[in-house]
């Protein structure tokens, strides 16, 4: 009867790299899309705001698991056979994080006092200049801590990518378990690796929050 060995541990660590990679894709992709949606959400044009709100509602109201299934099978249906799992997983997680990041960032932008918009407007700055030169630099300070906090959610949620056959940390744990059947040991190790990935992030988020809450600067 084979037992849990260094080889298995190495395999799990290798899979953890894919978890990190997938998290990075989800964060960068979700950040780019989410930033656009956050701006659309505060647009001066009504229908743009409505579209952005609808997008956020739909994404936030759909389980990530279902999003992943939809992309995995959906892409195949529109003609691309043999979708690489990383592509479907990356896309699903991107959409998922964009829906949440957009709403987090919208809140941060709106928490900059209205009088700052007004002061910039009275100095004859265009709406875009007001946003980029006055509001966003202040909103970014507010946004740092909750954004890093959300990063923890992304890392943990990449585990769902296993359902479309993507071998990241959770899926690797399942594979090892299928061969040696020591579920408790294996999933304890898997949980420990997740913790090692997430703990520094949440500590960082907390320290950022403390630092940035002192004064407005």
């Amino acid at each position: 009867m084979p037992t849990f060995t260094l080889i298995h541990f190495q395999f799990l660590c290798w899979a953890a790299l894919w978890t990190v990679g997938l998290s990075a894709i989800a964060f960068v992709g979700g950040g780019l899309v989410g930033f656009g949606v956050a701006l659309a959400r505060i647009s001066s044009t009504r229908w743009v705001r409505i579209l952005a709100t609808a997008y956020i509602q739909v994404v936030q109201g759909t389980p990530l698991l279902i999003l992943l299934f939809l992309f995995y099978f959906g892409i195949a249906i529109v003609g691309f056979k043999e979708v690489p799992a990383i592509f479907a997983a990356g896309l699903g997680l991107t959409i998922y994080s964009s829906g949440f990041l957009a709403e987090i960032w919208r809140g941060c932008i709106e928490s900059v006092p209205k009088t700052q918009w007004e002061a910039a407007e009275c100095l004859s700055l265009s709406r875009w200049q007001r946003l980029t030169r006055v509001i966003l630099p202040q909103a970014m300070r507010i946004a740092t801590a909750p954004t890093v906090g959300f990063l923890v959610q992304i890392v943990k949620n990449t585990s769902l990518a296993s359902v479309v056959g993507f071998v990241e940390l959770s899926q690797a744990g399942k594979l090892v378990n299928n061969s040696i059947f020591e579920p408790f040991t294996i999933f304890m190790v898997v949980a420990a690796i997740y913790f090692v990935l997430c703990y520094p992030l949440s500590t960082w988020s907390r320290s950022l929050e403390r630092k940035l809450n002192v004064g407005r600067r």
Binding site: T115, A119, E121, C122, L123, S124, L125, S126, Q138, R216
Partner: protein
């Protein structure tokens, strides 16, 4: 004497509350007009209408040749001519005093960084704060922040300056330093409209006092009008204030 600002029968409501009920007054070039009145008399709203921060429902407002009541008004060009200073300073907290001042000249007028920095030093000197150029707003006292805010407006070389209760958040000593800057500006020939509760300052510096009551201009006159009010409302207001 040409009017820099003229309001004619201006009307404005917030919901069911009529805040401005046919306000008319004129301010000529180089004049310093002090708008006084109780809280809720519509004086701050009138000031904000001049700068198109509020849209009006009736009447006409002409400011430096711009038809402010016109829905097709280009607000950006209006605001190159009109500076405004707020009660709560509204400096940009992520920028130093100097950067606060440089922002609009570089963004709006396309002035180069070096020239904008010279300009910032010059206007900071006018408000007596050249030593604070590299300080962030939170490192400055309320009075200093307000003087930086005045300098920030001056850097755009406006033809008209609006002051919205700029000393209301300050203690008497800090109020004094801000009022001194405003007095210097007035002496330099700047056209100014100030909403204020500083009666002594209004009497001393203003060439015209506009007393607003219940959303209309109740009484207008020179600073000395405060010593000899014609209407019982102004008499009561001045009596309670001094």
């Amino acid at each position: 004497m040409s009017a820099v600002v003229s309001l004619t029968n201006v009307e404005k409501s917030f919901g069911a509350v009529k805040v401005l009920n046919g306000v008319s007054f004129e301010v000529a070039r180089g004049e310093v007009a002090a708008v006084i009145g109780q809280s809720g008399s519509g004086k701050s709203t009138a000031l904000r209408c001049i700068n198109a921060l509020e849209t009006i429902e009736g009447g006409q407002i002409m400011v430096c040749g711009h038809a402010v009541h016109d829905p097709k008004l280009d607000k950006k060009t209006l605001r190159r001519d009109v500076g405004i200073v707020f009660q709560s300073y509204n400096l940009f907290p992520h920028l130093t005093a100097e950067q606060n001042i440089m922002l609009a000249p570089t963004c709006v007028k396309g002035i180069g960084k070096a020239a904008a920095r010279d300009l910032a030093r010059e206007v900071l000197a006018r408000v007596g704060l050249e030593a604070k150029a590299d300080h962030f707003p939170e490192q400055l006292s309320g009075g200093q922040q307000q003087r930086v805010a005045i300098a920030r407006s001056l850097a755009m070389q406006p033809k008209l300056m609006l002051f919205d209760e700029v000393t209301s958040a300050l203690d008497p000593q800090l109020t004094g330093e801000v009022l001194k800057v405003m007095e210097d500006l007035a002496r330099g020939g700047m056209t100014m409209i100030l909403v204020t509760h500083e009666m002594a300052f209004a009497r001393k510096v203003a060439s015209k006092v506009i007393y607003m009551h219940q959303g209309t201009v109740w009484e207008t006159g020179p600073g000395a009008m405060l010593d000899d009010p014609k209407t019982p409302e102004l008499r009561a207001f001045v009596g309670s204030g001094l």
